[in-house]
């Protein structure tokens, strides 16, 4: 399965502890939330101006740190 997007420079990944989701942080500053079973982009967080090298889900709350 391939997760297509404009920028192919992924810097960080994080699997959700319960849902079939992956967070991907990109060189262009975007953070993407994917459903890896369906292969669809659920959401996009576009607030960073610089590359986002790391991202991690909280284990129980709907939070992530970037």
């Amino acid at each position: 399965m391939k997760f297509e997007t404009k920028s192919n420079r992924v810097k960080g990944l994080s699997f959700h502890p319960k849902q079939p989701w992956i967070l991907a942080s990109l060189h262009n500053g975007v953070i993407q939330l994917w459903d890896y079973r369906i292969g669809t982009l659920i959401d996009k967080f576009d607030e960073h101006d610089d590359p986002v090298h790391g991202v991690h889900f909280h284990h129980s709350q709907p939070l992530f740190v970037s």
Binding site: G12, I31, L33, D43, F45, E47, H48, D50, P51, H53, G54, V55, H56, F57, H58, H59, S60, P62, L63, F64, V65, S66
Partner: protein, 79 residues
């Protein structure tokens, strides 16, 4: 050039920014939520790793072993 504070903690349900972790003076490369204890660990090009409380987001500690850049960190999970 100073690095401007980043909107680092996010709520993905409300899609809102929760908190900025202020302290690092260079780019942050590694981030980690740790459940036990309840902390956030960050590593940066400024050569330090910092520990934050993950509910109050208070800066708890700075680890400075005169590293160059902190590119990666390894977590040990006690199952």
């Amino acid at each position: 050039m100073p690095i401007k504070p980043l909107k680092q903690v996010w709520d993905y349900q409300t899609k809102s920014y929760v908190q900025t972790l202020k302290g690092h003076t260079q780019y942050v490369y590694v981030v980690c939520f740790d459940p036990e204890p309840s902390i956030i660990i960050t590593g940066s090009e400024d050569g330090t790793m910092r520990i934050w409380h993950s509910t109050t987001y208070r800066h708890e500690n700075t680890l400075n072993y005169v590293l160059q850049r902190v590119w990666a960190q390894v977590r040990c999970i006690d199952l």
